[in-house]
């Protein structure tokens, strides 16, 4: 299901607002006994943006989030919020609120009491609290459920309450821990849209943690990909998908075909890569900086940019012969697994634009090819 991504929209429109830094994470390291969960991470988060920490389990993304919330204390490094050092502040003194993966609603309190809990800690007057709770309930469209207990709510409703509770104190920073983790797939895409809408309406800065790349790309304006405690790349969803800076990032996000090779010609405007897997050289439309000793490089190309034809391409570079090894029909598109003469199998996505067209089938001789600027050359 397609979800209108505000991040994508902003990239296309060009974000003109001046960027003001809200959170600064300065060389933070976290060790648990001897294992390093977060390793010398520095990053900044701008006011008003939705920032995603994306990574697998054990990547340190949750630990980083918990350090922002104050549940863990960095072993080294400092964390600043709005220029103020909050590293040593306990969670209950930080103007930061979190929506937990399990939602962590207080089971013995009603929906309204859950939302009011944080406000009561601030010693607000009864009237103010009631007004704020009503406002929050309205925001998440849960007004009619105010008296319910959490176990009388469905998963999606619980999430709304959890969101309302974490927004009630108007935090400077909202943390979302795997926001869709407890929902089933269908509900997810719907709630993603809703969540972003509410967050943008409130205008709160938000850091989310997720292992689901689709979720990160849909919701966030910027994504940091974490791996083994360090940040592999930070950028907009488009940056990360289209111009990954490392093999790790492009393998982590989406599918990719990788060709290892040597740079054989390196000029100002182009470069040629010779890969043992391909019969023809790879042409890159820009210079590639390599060292004199080490000419090895990896060329990455996404399956949807790798095209399959039955006729031999006329260009000199960027193609290879192959045979169809396997086809997976996925409805919207099919995945062709093409075996190259070297034995390497590459993937190609072919859109099923016609209901029944003549297509290459198993064991057919085909050609794979791509445009000059379709892939990226990776140094690491």
């Amino acid at each position: 299901m397609a979800v209108a991504s505000s991040a994508y929209k902003k990239v296309l429109e060009g974000d003109q607002q001046p960027k003001e830094v809200l959170v600064k994470i300065d060389r933070v390291t976290k060790k648990f006994d001897e294992t390093i969960a977060v390793d010398d991470v520095s990053l900044t988060i701008n006011k008003g943006e939705i920032f995603a920490l994306l990574g697998g389990s054990g990547s340190g993304k949750s630990t980083l989030l918990r350090m922002l919330a104050g549940f863990e204390r960095p072993t080294e490094g400092r964390i600043y919020l709005d220029g103020e050092d909050i590293t040593d502040l306990p969670p209950y003194e930080r103007p930061i609120n979190m929506m937990f993966q399990s939602y962590a609603l207080f089971p013995h309190m009603s929906v309204a009491d859950n939302i009011a809990f944080g406000l009561k800690q601030d010693k607000m007057s009864r009237l103010e609290i009631d007004a704020r709770v009503a406002e929050m309930l309205k925001l998440v469209q849960m007004s009619q459920y105010a008296k319910r207990k959490p176990h009388q709510l469905s998963g999606g409703q619980r999430q709304r309450v959890a969101l309302a509770r974490s927004l009630a104190k108007s935090p400077k920073l909202l943390l979302l821990d795997e926001p869709m983790g407890a929902l089933d797939k269908k509900l997810r895409s719907q709630m993603q849209l809703e969540l972003v809408e509410i967050i943008e309406r409130v205008g709160v800065t938000c850091v989310m943690v997720t292992h689901d790349q689709e979720e990160a790309m849909t919701m966030a304006q910027r994504i940091a990909i974490m791996h083994l405690g360090w940040i592999a790349q930070i950028g907009s969803p488009v940056d990360i998908y289209e111009t990954p800076t490392s093999r790790l990032v492009c393998e982590f996000i989406g599918n990719v075909n990788l060709f290892d090779g040597q740079v054989v010609e390196d000029a100002e405007g182009h470069a040629l890569i010779d890969s043992p897997d391909l019969e023809r050289n790879i042409f890159v439309g820009h210079g590639v900086t390599t060292s004199v000793q080490d000419k090895s490089i990896t060329y990455a190309i996404r399956p949807e940019k790798l095209l399959v034809t039955t006729e031999q391409p006329t260009c000199e570079y960027n193609w290879s012969r192959g045979t169809v090894h396997d086809i997976a029909y996925l409805g919207g598109h099919s995945v062709f697994h093409v075996q190259l003469p070297s034995g390497k199998i590459v993937q190609s996505f072919v859109a099923n634009a016609e209901r029944r067209g003549t297509r290459p089938t198993w064991d057919d001789q085909v050609y794979v090819w791509w445009e000059d600027d379709s892939g990226v050359a990776l140094r690491s």
Partner: protein, 303 residues
């Protein structure tokens, strides 16, 4: 260092209070008393209040520590004590075994019953533990005595002519111990068995294992922690049991709890009673450590 600092930051001053109160209480009223028992086991009995001599004395700027080993020598020389220790261990071992044989199928049946019945069964098993052990043992006195119900019943159906002597024998003690400690075997076993994933047995059956084979190869090994916990909860207290041998046992029933009681209350020999306790504790040290480890394992959910 950092971890503890971060916690203490979160529990400002409270941390010391939270750890300190139970720690000091348990230290004062559980650990320290054992040290005193150890000390007094090295004293001599004396007709005074309290009825023992001081182990160390302070005179002429000298502290003199006199460790009197005679209590321990006395214990080792008198066969009565050795027999009592052996009797207790034997009683504890066999009654633990009987409890396990009876308790395992019971726990298994409860764990397999449907949810609502599980609650009923559990309460039925637990209810006796909330009733004084004294009363439950007492109930058997009326049943087992020479002119009691059991003998009356057996005589009336003509199975025996003269009453069987059951009360005041070891058999009565076994019955009493198994009766009183059965719930302590069933409950940890149930707690363990109910957590088992039923699909493991289905997988085993799917792979061609018979029900009998699956039980011994899968259920029993997986319930190891429960078995250890149950056995320890029966074995350790039974070694020191006093009420049951006192009420149901006879002169042939030599158990260390009873002997200790007599030394203390009847002979007023506190040092010998202390020495008996020290030796008993030394014997039970290994099972107790085993139990504590097992408890920690079970709490962390390790197999």
């Amino acid at each position: 260092m950092n971890i503890s600092r971060s916690i203490s930051r979160r529990l400002p001053r409270g941390r010391h209070f939270v750890i300190g109160v139970p720690f000091i209480w348990l230290f004062m009223f559980f650990l320290l008393p054992f040290i005193i028992v150890l000390k007094i086991s090295f004293a001599e009995a004396e007709v005074s209040i309290p009825p023992y001599t001081d182990v160390y004395t302070w005179a002429e700027d000298k502290i003199s520590l006199v460790l009197n080993l005679s209590n321990y020598i006395f214990l080792s020389e008198d066969d009565l004590y050795l027999a009592a220790y052996l009797g207790s261990l034997q009683m504890a071992f066999f009654s633990t075994l009987l409890c396990l044989l009876l308790g395992y199928p019971m726990a298994y049946a409860i764990a397999r019953a449907d949810k609502e019945m599980q609650l009923v069964y559990l309460l039925l098993i637990m209810m006796p533990t909330w009733t004084a052990i004294l009363i439950r043992v007492y109930a058997w006195m009326g049943i087992l005595s020479n002119n009691g119900l059991l003998n009356g019943f057996l005589q009336s159906i003509g199975l025996i002519d003269t009453p069987l002597q059951i009360l005041n024998t070891n058999i009565a003690v076994y019955i009493g111990v198994v009766y009183s400690y059965l719930p302590f075997m069933v409950l940890p076993l149930y707690a363990n068995l109910v957590k088992h994933d039923q699909s493991l047995l289905e997988a085993a059956a799917d792979l061609g294992s018979s029900t009998y084979n699956s039980f011994w190869k899968i259920t029993v090994p997986l319930s190891k922690n429960g078995i250890v916990a149950g056995c320890m909860l029966v074995f350790i207290p039974v070694v020191g049991e006093f009420v049951i041998p006192e009420l149901l046992g006879g002169p042939e029933t030599l158990m260390i709890g009873k002997v200790l009681w007599q030394e203390f209350f009847n002979n007023r020999d506190w040092p010998v009673a202390s020495a008996l306790a020290v030796v008993m504790l030394a014997i039970l040290m290994i099972p107790i450590i085993l139990f504590n480890r097992n408890q920690a394992k079970e709490m962390e959910g390790r197999p």
